[in-house]
Symmetry: C2
């Protein structure tokens, strides 16, 4: 039995202990968006640091302007050679609405699903479950081989679900310590329950809040209607202009830096046979609503979007109130593709709004998140290593996939540390990420541990 | 001293007692929109009935599907001759937001204002204060002359602020009893602090709620953006299309039944010298926002509007949440002018929405209020009588004004009882109706009592 087989055997003999540790972490309600859970966020960070210390790492919890970051180091067997950075996040989305959960969100339970047992809890997969796959892999390397096969640094943050807003500054302050050959990130999905995937594209994001103000008080719509500016009508008009009937975004210059998909990549994606009708019918829809004339995966992975994520203003209670309010608000976000600059899109969006503002309206645009789209060179040695290990772990060649979501840290690590990321995740499309009854299939969790054990071996060979 | 002078003298000698009764009514928090205040609504109705019994009326409180209605009768001196119906409402708007009040909304206080003393409370003017002007006039006719000078019926409802929704059925059920020669309604304003007004036009209203549904759950905007329909974008697009840049409403046929203003009326309104710049600057605005190319009073009194009174959907908390929600909502109301049919406008609005709905979206339109615009013949004998009495009470000829607001009951009384209304009110533009710190100037209240004493005399002469 060689070294990696011994580590795999060790993992296979300790499935229940792995699950118990995972459940411990899931029981900590580390909701980063809710201030009352700040102590829980710290508790989750301390928990992760303690587990890393148990397996030979030097680990500490470092403060930021927000929730703390866990940083840990292991020199590996020689102190030289390849250096890997593992990234994860211990924070989770708010569990609300609670009434839609079938079990309490922070009391993980094992339930039966179509792919066998699954664990249901907030964070089951995103990203506590995924983070645990490589934490457990590091544990079994420690237990069966005395430590990881190469130098490893760990970075686990607590603000991913609120835009990683303090992470850029943290990366800048600790750049020397954190810069490695590649960052391994498990926060993405498999292609399907049997087929692993390496994500080689992520969309970037610009997330804004638009606040429009008109009169300095609420007005009676009978006495003022026909004379006073209505900021909700104005907001609807501006945001209604964002896209045309064919789904094209109308901000001038918006598509300037959007490259057309290379024909080879388009052919590769077409060959995946993605069933958009099934994808949509799973959520009660039937007709694609993005840009007309583009393929489904192209729209989801390689085209930008403009979505209103929230809107509010005026009277929103039961019945009627005849008010022309003084203000109106919306959350508007753009998914961006590699090549687009979030700052340039923000400037274009601002100009788009200002051009439509009458004299009596003021606008404020708050920015909550800015990150560039990411494209990982799919012919790199890291991707090659991951392809081999995933095929070994799953008995199937992985798909090179895109992802429509954004992982701002991947863009930050590229920009600030100059590092590419290797995105290998074990989630499934039906995991209910960010929704009630979030789950992670037990088989995905356990194969994820095995894949990471193999990946450490492969990447350690350089 | 003739009879009417004796009644006026009696009123002048009892100002404090009038104010004390008015304060008693203001202390009852009869907020019709808030279910917890249903007992207070009944209490206010009982209070009004008791006061009417004190002055010789047969009065009772009658149940409806909502808040009760007070009906009272006095045969007058002969039981024959003119028959007047006095209409008022005892319910008030919710006082929220409470933190903006300088004194508790249901503890009336006397404060100094630019026009002398004023009473500050929710309902100070709308409509408890205005209702008290004629209740007190009836009291002094009783005290100084043994009763009103003609037959009088009283109707005081408790659902005006929530669209008088049970009143049409009530009017139909009690039509014989309530039908009079004319309805006297005090729920409108004076032209300015020194100049009385008779309102001869009211706009009607259609108040709706639009609910749009798409996916059967909230979706992640990264995973679904570019494929899934976003109901907020759709709602913004539909409502943004409602008006063009010149302020014209784009529902097909919307203006079909809107008459152009007769030149004589336009000239009369122009002569009033309404200062729209001052009207707007009072609320922090500077540029008229209605239809371009129309006069200010025309836009406010004789042109229809389409205002979004409220909008909501998706994530509206702090920071960011990357959601494509399953639904989006808006309250949309139309002020209508005499000639427009609310039902026809509703059908047009529905068609307008449905024409813009993609296959995956469902719409529900709830209707909270429907009333026609009103035009009172300004050459009627009732208007002539009111002109004379207001000139006598105020020392100035009244302005024949329009009003941009809607008093659904006026339309219901016209349609169901075939009665015209005489709209004589004593509010001022700065009364903060429906807003925090609602007030009624004491001088307006007291002159209102005197004007109603004279009006009873004039209308009793037939």
């Amino acid at each position: 039995m060689n070294e990696v087989e011994a580590v795999l055997a060790r993992a296979a003999s300790a499935r229940e202990a792995s699950r118990a540790r995972w459940f411990e972490l899931l029981r900590i309600p580390s909701v980063s968006a809710q201030p009352q859970h700040a102590p829980d966020c710290r508790r989750a960070a301390e928990w992760v640091a303690a587990r890393l210390r148990e397996v030979g790492f030097t680990a500490n919890v470092r403060g930021t302007a927000g929730h703390p970051v866990v940083v840990a180091q292991h020199p590996g067997p020689t102190g030289t050679g390849p250096h890997l950075l593992f990234y994860g996040h211990y924070d989770v989305q708010p569990p609300e609405p609670l009434e839609l959960w079938t079990s309490p969100p922070f009391e993980p339970v094992l339930a039966e699903g179509p792919n066998g047992p699954r664990v249901v809890a907030r964070g089951a997969v995103d990203d506590k479950g995924q983070t645990m796959t490589w934490l457990e892999a590091l544990r079994f390397w420690h237990e069966a081989a005395g430590g990881p096969p190469c130098r490893v640094t760990v970075l686990v943050e607590g603000e991913e679900e609120i835009g990683s807003r303090n992470l850029p500054e943290f990366l800048e302050a600790h750049a020397e310590e954190l810069r490695a050959d590649v960052a391994v990130v498990s926060d993405t999905n498999m292609w399907d329950a049997r087929t692993p995937a390496i994500t080689t594209r992520l969309r970037g994001m610009l997330y804004t809040q638009v606040d429009i103000r008109a009169a300095d008080r609420d007005l009676h719509s009978g006495l003022f209607g026909g004379s006073a500016l209505n900021p909700i009508n104005l907001l609807a008009r501006i945001l209604g202009d964002l896209r045309d009937e064919a789904g094209e975004i109308l901000i001038p210059g918006f598509y300037e830096d959007v490259p057309e998909l290379p024909p080879a990549l388009r052919a590769q994606w077409d060959a995946l046979g993605f069933d958009e009708a099934a994808f949509l019918s799973g959520v009660g829809l039937s007709v694609p609503a993005g840009e007309m004339g583009r393929g489904a995966l192209e729209r989801l992975w390689a085209r930008p979007t403009a979505d209103i994520n929230g809107i509010w203003g005026g009277y929103t209670g039961d019945g009627s109130k005849t008010v022309i309010p003084g203000e109106a608000h919306a959350k508007v976000s753009f998914r961006l593709v590699p090549g687009q600059s979030p700052a340039k899109i923000l400037a274009g969006f601002r100009d788009f709004i200002v051009a439509r503002l009458p004299e009596d309206a003021q606008v404020k645009i708050q920015v909550f998140s800015m990150s560039e789209g990411i494209e990982v060179p799919s012919d790199s040695r890291h991707v090659a290593a991951a392809r081999g290990t995933l095929e070994a772990a799953f008995g199937r060649a992985p798909v090179l996939a895109g992802c429509g979501g954004s992982i701002p840290v991947v863009s930050h690590m590229k920009q600030i540390l100059g590092m590419d990321s290797l995105l290998v995740g074990f989630g499934l499309a039906d995991d209910q990420v960010h929704s009630p009854n979030e789950k992670f299939d037990l088989a995905c969790f356990e194969r994820g541990i095995d894949a990471h054990i193999r990946l450490l071996d492969a990447l350690a060979r350089g």
